[in-house]
């Protein structure tokens, strides 16, 4: 694990805290009734409130509040019955108000914790410091013109949850595991789609280094890390950079740095140097947000089974290993698919067909499970045919390929192609006798001690029967007759 960097003067520990901005899944914005859907014509989803026209007043979206509370509960966090919206003041062309409505001293969600999954099946608890609701800014495009920037305010005012972790993460792998787990939880809860490409989930990474067990070092905040892989690369680069500076006798200055994915490096954002004086104060347009405890409890009632609970249940109820369970619960739709296949069937067989066969081929085609040509019921039908000896496991793979290509039921394919397994001992015996009669040299060699030739005989019988002979019967008959 890359938790430790070896420098010239000894070992350094990497300490990481993350601030994740997750766009709340909602139809409209946090304080206006304009659409919050991604990908529309520029500035077509902007209300006068979002454009900060004089005299416009914000009205809080009740569903966004509910989503934040649901997320807080999913992060095992305390929900604050009273929270306050404040203004964070700064100037930027994509922030028409000149301030962002955010929460500062009194966020809606306080301390919580989640578990992250590490290689070797270990888990580690990571503290959540807080979650607060805030407005997103608009989007600036800098590459459209040599001397101008283009601004689209469609995203301006969309609801974000800023989720802040404790500096509990050590090294790039843990940071990646945290981000993946957080995204999984948000998706299970349905509170954020977790789509990092579209920017609905963005991470700022705080990195510092220290002598193992020593006092915390000065941290740098890295922005613009927009994928799990980028998070890992940025941490590896930044921690190395800091160690080199310290070992060369320099000091780290607290600053905001930008991850440059093309160059693979972080660089100082000079524009942010003076930006940290945000002069927060309570937004005079908004009263404190007061939640009813009974309402919070009612949301708790509607929480879905969360990834870790599901994982433990799969291991206990289905007898699956930690790794397979982890892969199955990675997406809710995948876990649901597996459970409908496994219902009333051998769970390990179901897991095997879902993981190794179906997900394998879907992955190869770049498809998601919701685009699968084979339904859970159909895959279950195929397993039933194996279990009741209608087809062998080997034929089943061919049937599966046909199902994938045609979306037909397994039974129909077996019927149409005449793939039903031959279990009639008399018929198989006849073929076995023919094969033995046709290969006297090999029979002699086998009886003379070349045990490996057994596979040859099985292959010949299978060839003659078009692969349909029951393998167990074939093996037994051959063993008896070749004695």
């Amino acid at each position: 694990m890359a938790q430790i960097i070896k420098g010239r003067t000894g070992e350094w520990e990497i300490v990481i805290g993350m601030e994740v901005h997750a766009q709340v899944t909602a139809n409209t914005k946090l304080f206006s009734g304009a659409s919050a859907v991604f990908g529309a014509e520029p500035n077509s989803q902007v209300s006068m409130v979002d454009a900060a026209m004089p005299g416009m007043l914000p009205t809080l979206n009740a569903y966004c509040v509910e989503q934040a509370v649901r997320t807080g509960l999913g992060l095992n966090a305390e929900i604050h019955a009273t929270s306050v919206f404040e203004r964070k003041n700064y100037f930027y062309p994509d922030l028409p108000q000149g301030y962002q409505i955010s929460q500062y001293l009194h966020p809606i969600v306080g301390k919580g914790k989640i578990e992250i999954d590490l290689p070797q099946g270990d888990v580690k608890e990571i503290g959540i410091t807080r979650l607060h609701l805030e407005q997103d800014a608009g989007k600036s495009l800098h590459d459209q013109h040599p001397t101008k920037s283009f601004v689209d305010l469609n995203r301006s005012g969309c609801a974000l949850m800023e989720i802040v972790s404790e500096p509990d993460l050590r090294g790039a792998e843990e940071a990646a595991a945290y981000l993946s787990k957080l995204r999984m939880i948000l998706r299970y809860l349905g509170t954020c789609d977790g789509n990092m490409e579209e920017g609905s989930m963005r991470a700022d990474v705080n990195v510092s280094v220290r002598k193992p067990g020593g006092a915390l070092g000065t941290r740098c905040e890295i922005k613009n890390v927009n994928s799990v892989k980028a998070v890992q690369m940025a941490i590896d680069y930044e921690s190395r950079r800091q160690v080199d500076i310290i070992e060369d006798g320099g000091t780290i200055h607290q600053e905001t740095r930008l991850w440059d994915p093309t160059k693979g490096e972080t660089r100082s954002m000079r524009s942010k140097e003076d930006a940290h004086d945000y002069r927060y104060f309570p937004d005079p347009d908004l009263l404190p947000l007061v939640l009813d405890n009974a309402w919070i409890a009612s949301i708790k009632q509607t929480l879905p089974e969360l990834p870790d609970q599901k994982k433990h249940r799969f291991m206990q109820d289905y007898g699956l290993g930690a790794y397979d369970s982890g892969v199955l619960i990675a997406e809710r739709i995948r876990a649901d698919f597996f459970e409908s296949v496994a219902k009333g069937r051998d769970a390990k067989m179901a897991a095997n067909w879902v993981l190794n066969e179906l997900l394998g081929v879907l992955n190869k085609d770049g498809k998601n499970l919701d685009q699968s040509p084979i339904t859970a019921a159909q895959l279950g039908g195929l397993i039933d045919l194996i279990v009741d000896n209608t087809i062998s496991g080997k034929i089943a793979k061919d049937v599966f390929a046909d199902m994938y290509a045609t979306s037909k039921d397994a039974a129909k394919i077996v019927d149409e192609k005449g793939l039903k397994q031959v279990t009639d001992i008399g018929a198989i015996e006849k073929t076995v006798d023919q094969v033995i009669a046709a290969n006297p040299d090999n029979v002699a060699a086998y009886r003379g001690g070349k045990d490996k030739l057994f596979g040859f005989f099985v292959g010949q019988v299978m060839k003659e029967t078009g692969g349909k002979a029951n393998p167990e019967i074939v093996n037994q008959l051959l063993k008896d007759k070749l004695k």
Binding site: M48, T82, E86, H106, L287
Partner: protein
């Protein structure tokens, strides 16, 4: 009665406010106001007077008194998550000094 909680950071030890030119300059730059040295100097005593005036409030003992966020005891109004606004591209861009293809156009702001 809604619970009212403090958003005011812990009070600094009460001292007579002093406003120096450096602070005036910083406040101006945070507000994106460009000022000459002469202007900075003329604002310095004015701002200091405002602070002194407000500082009188610290004479009142407010121990145990919760800050008042509104005087009529109304609750925050919330709305449902229904699409009611937007689709105003032309109006939104109407006052922009420059726009193209639906975007606001501003001087380049990236480093």
């Amino acid at each position: 009665m809604t619970t009212i909680i403090s958003c005011i950071p812990p009070a600094l030890p009460s001292t007579l406010p002093v406003m120096d030119t450096k602070t005036v300059k910083k406040v101006a730059s945070l507000a994106r106001l460009s000022m000459t040295d002469q202007e900075l100097e003329s604002y310095r005593p004015k701002l200091e007077n405002i602070l002194k005036f407000v500082e009188q409030l610290s004479e009142v003992n407010t121990d145990g008194v919760e800050p008042l966020s509104n005087v009529v005891d109304i609750a925050l109004t919330l709305r449902t998550d229904t699409l009611t606004d937007g689709d105003l591209q032309q109006k939104i861009l109407a006052n922009a000094p420059e726009s193209t293809e639906g975007f606001f156009v501003v001087p380049k702001v990236v480093e």
